[in-house]
């Protein structure tokens, strides 16, 4: 599966949207780290899942402290 985004294009824009300041030095390192993450995500996204598989959430509709 192709990488869903081009890290060099995506990282500065997404960081700006989040208000995440990137120094020039960080910028290159983050693009590199994001490229790794995007390759890893490619492995995950290429794995087809039936719609009926739902995430194994531990969510309980209270503050989590009920017995």
């Amino acid at each position: 599966m192709a990488e869903p985004v081009d890290p060099a294009q995506y990282v500065p824009r997404a960081a700006a949207l989040l208000g995440l300041p990137l120094t020039p030095e960080d910028r290159d390192n983050v693009i590199g780290a994001f490229a790794v993450l995007a390759r890893v995500a490619g492995v995950v996204m290429a794995f087809p899942l039936p719609e009926e598989i739902v995430a194994a959430a531990a969510f309980t509709p209270d503050d989590g402290s009920a017995p």
Binding site: P4, V5, Y10, V11, A14, A15, L18, G19, L20, P21, L22, T23, D26, N29, V30, G32, A33, F34, V36, L37, V40, A41, V43, V44, M45, F47, L49, P50, I53, V54, A55, A56, A57, A58, T60, G64, S65, P67
Partner: protein, 465 residues
């Protein structure tokens, strides 16, 4: 004096040593030995002596001083210790207010008579496998101080391996107990997700994180684990299960336990010495069956996405306000995780459900699975790249190749040091179905009884001690 928790507790309970005497010797050992390995970031001398005196007073007055009476222990510095800032390997968190109370697991060990002697080094916010911490220095491997201890609970494994403490606590998201245990030649237990309370732990990736113990024997792991169990409403992920003690069943042997070796994925991407070492253990246990874990490589990838996103979200305010204060070893990876599209995370979490269903089916045919803990032994501090089978890999990042697919399913795993190899330790993962820590510990105890796994004593630290 013994370096084993069970033996020490027995001696204190029998009045052969006082707890104060044990703790004084431990504090002296830390003062003499920590410089060579850089495992401790804080020593809690005053409270340790007070806790030890309380244990001695309990015994003197005829009260039960607890199953871990007088046993010194230390914790990864992401565990809350009352009166200290919980730094989690970071510089940023030195600014936090001191913890008001101990983490739940610290309280449970102290309640069982154990004595807290300090806090231990780790990768910043647990995001690493090597404990090469830029703020507090690298923790060194007691078996070769030029090499890494593994991580992220590197201080915990190294302190136990160097006999500075008989017990330590760490945490494991993707392998942070099992990797350093293997590389330092000690036993480590990653319990089932949700088994132990994480209240008072600085979390990393809350949907995967667990706490767990390190020790020099299976019995020591079991006695500590039994004291740590029990529900806790302060951690929403902690299951409402009563303690299921493992120590009484530890010596029941292998009868009725179906064993197999993890094949396929778990027989690739490592060095030949690792596979030969696991083979030593499986041969000694008479295991010939091989099983394949479905989509293990996808599980590792999904674990990396979930970890990166949950970790980044937790630290987002600091990433925005003071990114420069993060460790250069973690900064770019945390920042990258903050930028991950949400669909990656949602798909990874849905994959996790599919994967757990598949593993549930697998554990109907087998009870315990053996797998390597790491793809190679400890590498020299500072090494960035490792070549395996002609492929250049990130030396620290690849350490989790065999641990990540197992923790992503929330499975309980004992990491046990393989006997008869060397000079550098290697570990085997002993993996059971969810909530069956008892089986993993029983197999580890059986392997220990026949000499297939054992915690070696370091030989290169004599000058420092």
């Amino acid at each position: 004096m013994s370096i084993r928790a069970c033996a020490l507790a027995g001696a204190v309970r029998a009045g052969e040593h006082s707890a104060v005497e044990v703790v004084q010797k431990t504090l002296a050992a830390i003062a003499a030995g920590n410089g060579a390995i850089n495992a401790f970031t804080a020593v809690t001398e005053k409270r340790a002596l007070a806790e030890a005196a309380a244990v001695d007073a309990a015994r003197a007055s005829g009260r039960d001083p607890g199953p871990l009476a007088g046993v010194p222990f230390a914790v990864k510095n992401l565990y809350d210790i009352a009166g200290l800032a919980t730094i989690a390997g970071s510089r940023i968190d030195r600014d936090r207010a001191p913890a008001a109370r101990d983490a739940a697991l610290v309280r449970r060990l102290v309640g069982a008579g154990a004595v807290l002697v300090g806090a231990l080094n780790m990768d910043e916010y647990a995001f690493g496998f090597s404990t090469e911490n830029s703020h507090y220095g690298a923790t060194r491997n007691p078996h070769d101080p030029t090499r890494i201890a593994g991580g992220s609970s590197g201080g915990s494994a190294a302190a136990v391996a160097a006999s500075l403490v008989p017990l330590a606590l760490g945490s494991d998201t993707n392998g942070s107990i099992r990797v350093p245990a293997a590389l330092c030649g000690v036993f480590g237990l990653r319990p089932t997700y949700g088994r132990l309370s994480r209240a008072g732990l600085r979390l990393f990736a809350a949907s995967i994180d667990v706490g767990g113990p390190f020790g020099r024997s299976v019995e020591d792991l079991a006695i500590a684990y039994d004291a740590l169990q029990g529900p806790d409403r302060d951690d929403p992920a902690c299951a409402a299960r009563d303690p299921e003690p493992t120590l009484p069943e530890l010596r029941r042997g292998l009868d009725g336990i179906r064993l197999a070796v993890a094949g396929g994925y778990f027989e690739s991407q490592g060095t030949p010495e690792v596979f030969a070492a696991v083979e030593r253990v499986s041969s000694a246990l008479g295991v010939s069956q091989r099983v394949a874990l479905p989509a293990a490589g996808v599980a590792r990838a999904a674990a990396m996405i979930v970890t990166s996103v949950e970790g980044a979200e937790l630290h987002l305010p600091d990433l925005i306000a003071r990114a420069a204060e993060f460790d250069p070893k973690t900064r770019a990876r945390f920042l990258a995780g903050a930028l991950a599209p949400g669909v990656w995370y949602a798909h990874a979490q849905r994959f996790r459900r599919w994967y757990c269903k598949e593993l549930t089916a697998l554990f109907r045919t087998v009870d315990v699975i053996l797998a390597p803990a790491t793809p190679y032994p400890a590498f020299p501090i500072g090494q960035a790249v490792m070549e395996v089978g002609g492929q250049k890999l990130p030396a620290a990042g690849h350490l989790g190749v065999y641990t990540q697919p197992l923790s992503f399913a929330g499975l309980p795993v004992v990491a046990a040091p393989i006997a008869g190899i060397g000079p550098l330790p290697l570990g085997v993962q002993i993996v059971a179905a969810p909530w069956r820590e008892d089986l993993a510990l029983r197999v580890a105890a059986a392997a220990e009884a026949i000499g297939a796994v054992a915690s070696p004593s370091p030989t290169k630290l004599h000058d420092a001690r």
